[in-house]
């Protein structure tokens, strides 16, 4: 069995060799038609701030690869770039790749020369026959208008005859408005003066501020979409958990506490890692965007649970008793009496929770969700400047600052309402002071629990200073 196999393989090899030989003979027999060289690839390195686009008017590098026919050795290869294309020969490189999978590099002494749009790589001596050639030209600037750029290749064979290799195209995107703006900025003397200060250049480079804005903006929409879906999802889940935690049944109470304690006791970063790298191993395949929403919603639900629980338990016991005496059952009491009062009380804390959740979307950058930080990171990595992070910070502030203002307003309103409705242990003066601090602290603080739910209803009666510590 084994032997026949081997024999079969030998026959196959012999046949293949024969075919190759025939092919070679044929190709030599009709030299006029045979291509001496074939283009293997011709690409330009992407030069947009992110993604695969090749932009006009911006430096890029062309990599051209071609395979010479087995019998051909070359004197030179020429590439003709489209009219109006700039280039530099300083870093130009020619390499010959040999071996079965072109993994061995032979660097050949090459001189690069140019004549208008044509770049010629002349090898110091005719190369070995049948080589695989790679030419790299740096500092190539395609015309700003963009379009399909034809690259014409010709080669000179060892016998001195010139031959067309063929043409390939590189799709070049026209320069965008922002790119034109940055190009204009680059030439401005005040920009150059500004950037000559190292600190300003690293943190507030005007060119990068402009160029990273549209890129990071895409991430901004992504982050907004995540939080706008995740937060409402967390509301019913949080309410459910809060009812579980206040349940008469020990099992429900235990389950609710277990969930809340585990989720709040571990970093959201770790939860994201477990969900993104652990779940798929267990056979659960969810695309990154919905998975990110689920993780953040589940995380937020645990925090919201505590907000609702404290909010509900802060309603005076008298309210429950009054509702019951009117003949309402437990569910009716909750739905028509307690919850409406709770909503008003938890609104500021809930807004804070929204702000926190929005900021937490940045953690998803670690697992490849393309949000604000991720986009900023890619530009930082390619430019070595911190400026894109500053742009990212602006995209967070544009949401968090107005919301913080809203929290302040809500707290004020709540305090005023409370003055009219219930008894308060605070004097007017104290309340005003509390309001002042509330404004300052609302954004700064991390999550702090609401008052302990087991305390008596009297003591938890919500007063502005309670919310100010959220």
């Amino acid at each position: 069995m084994n032997q026949t196999n081997v024999r079969g393989r030998r026959w196959g090899a012999a046949l293949l060799a024969l075919l190759c030989a025939i092919a070679v003979v044929l190709s030599m027999a009709v030299p006029s038609n045979a291509q001496a060289m074939e283009i293997a690839k011709c690409t330009a390195r992407p030069n947009a701030d992110s993604g695969s686009d090749v932009l006009g008017g911006t430096e890029t590098r062309i990599t051209w690869e071609g395979q010479a026919t087995d019998s051909e050795s070359l004197q030179s290869i020429s590439l003709t770039l489209p009219a109006g294309t700039g280039y530099s020969l300083d870093q130009a490189r020619a390499t010959i790749l040999t071996g079965e999978d072109h993994m061995t590099r032979v660097s050949v002494p090459t001189t690069f020369s140019s004549d208008g749009e044509t770049i010629t790589a002349t090898f110091s001596e005719p190369t070995d026959a049948g080589g695989y050639y790679r030419l790299e030209i740096y500092g190539v600037v395609f015309p700003t208008a963009g379009g399909d750029m034809p690259i014409q290749a010709t080669c000179v064979l060892a016998d001195g005859s010139q031959e067309q290799v063929g043409s390939s195209t590189i799709a070049v995107t026209g320069v965008s408005v922002t790119k034109q703006l940055t190009n204009w900025l680059e030439d401005q003397p005040w920009v150059q003066a500004w950037n000559s200060v190292k600190f300003l250049k690293l943190f507030f480079n005007p060119i990068l501020l402009v160029s990273s804005f549209p890129v990071v903006l895409q991430g901004f929409f992504m982050a907004l979409a995540i939080v706008v879906i995740a937060f409402p999802l967390a509301i019913p889940l949080g309410l459910l958990l809060s009812f579980m935690r206040m349940s008469k049944f020990g099992i429900l109470r235990g389950l609710g506490s277990l969930y809340v304690n585990i989720v709040r006791g571990t970093p959201v970063f770790l939860q994201i890692y477990i969900a993104f790298f652990g779940l798929p191993l267990a056979g659960v395949q969810i695309p990154p965007f919905p998975l990110g929403i689920i993780v953040l919603a589940m995380n937020s639900a645990a925090y919201q649970c505590e907000i609702y629980r404290a909010g509900i338990q802060s309603i005076s016991k008298g309210q429950f008793e009054a509702a019951r005496s009117l003949g309402m059952n437990g569910a009716q009491t909750m739905a028509f009496v307690i919850i409406p009062q709770t909503v008003r009380r938890v609104l500021p804390t809930l807004t804070n929770e929204f702000i926190l959740l929005y900021k937490d979307t940045s953690m998803l950058a670690a697992v490849g969700v393309m949000e604000v930080v991720m986009y900023a990171k890619t530009i930082v990595a390619s430019t070595g400047s911190i400026t894109p992070y500053i742009v990212a910070a602006l995209f967070y502030l544009v949401i968090t600052l107005p919301l913080a203002k809203v929290v302040g307003k809500l707290e004020k309103k709540l305090a005023n309402n409370d003055t009219g409705s219930g008894p308060s242990s605070m004097s007017r003066k104290e309340r005003r002071a509390a309001k002042k601090t509330a404004k300052h602290e609302s954004l700064v603080d991390r999550r702090i629990d609401l008052p302990d739910a087991n305390a008596s209803a009297e003591a938890v009666e919500v007063s502005p200073e309670r919310f100010s510590s959220m």
Binding site: S52, F277, A381
Partner: protein, 278 residues
Amino acid sequence: MKIKKIGILVAAGVLAAALGLFGCSSSSSSSSSAQSAASSSSATTTSAGYTLQKAGTLTIATSPDFPPFENLENGQYVGLDIEIGKAVAEKLGLTPEFKTLQFDAILPAIAAGGQADCGISGFTVDPEREKTVDFSDSYYIDDQAIAVMKDSSFTSEGIDSQLNNANVTIAVQSGTSGEEYVQENYPNAKCQAYGNSTDAFAAMQAGQANAVCTNKAVVQNMLADAYSDAQIVKNVATGEEYAIAVSKDNPQLTAAIDQALKELKDDGTIDSLINEYL
């Protein structure tokens, strides 16, 4: 013994002084390094003319998630780059001190100054990167490789057209030459960047990505250790030269590192390290 040491010290001092004098005569570069030394108060200027974050210490930034070049084993930095960093520091008469930074944060940190003297983290010399930092001479040449899971439908035959497809996701490490290779050669595929190569492989195993593209030695190492259920479908002889990144404000340090690397090459240290780790 003691006398010998003093003798060496004196010799080093004389040499350093000579270098210093030499540095002063070449006007522009030395003045810029003097400026940077003055601006960051914590940095110290050595007698050899280069500045250091901490006197007597070569602070090296690295991202230890790139075995066999650098990773952490029991809290210790190990790998080829780490050994080269140590050897270079020894040649310069300094104590090496490694500092962990995310890969894509190292070059900005080196360019900004204040965190590390140099970066050794499998950096490929690249004209684009050379706009922000200086590179030493190269100490290793690497290629790119693309790996897929063995049970996937990808085959090395015609792999380029299989990968350059809108429903293919290729995981890369953010800011690496592998990322650029994917963007340039597979523009139709989705190029998904992760903070480090370990995460890129974890994502492929988890099914979040179809393939991983990164430096060949790293792929080989990953396949040999943790991901025996993956395979290489394509090697690309990109011939990337690994080098040490140094701030542009510190050309004397680059020169000193070049000298140290040359000595390490000549005495065979680098070759034996490469044989040991790769």
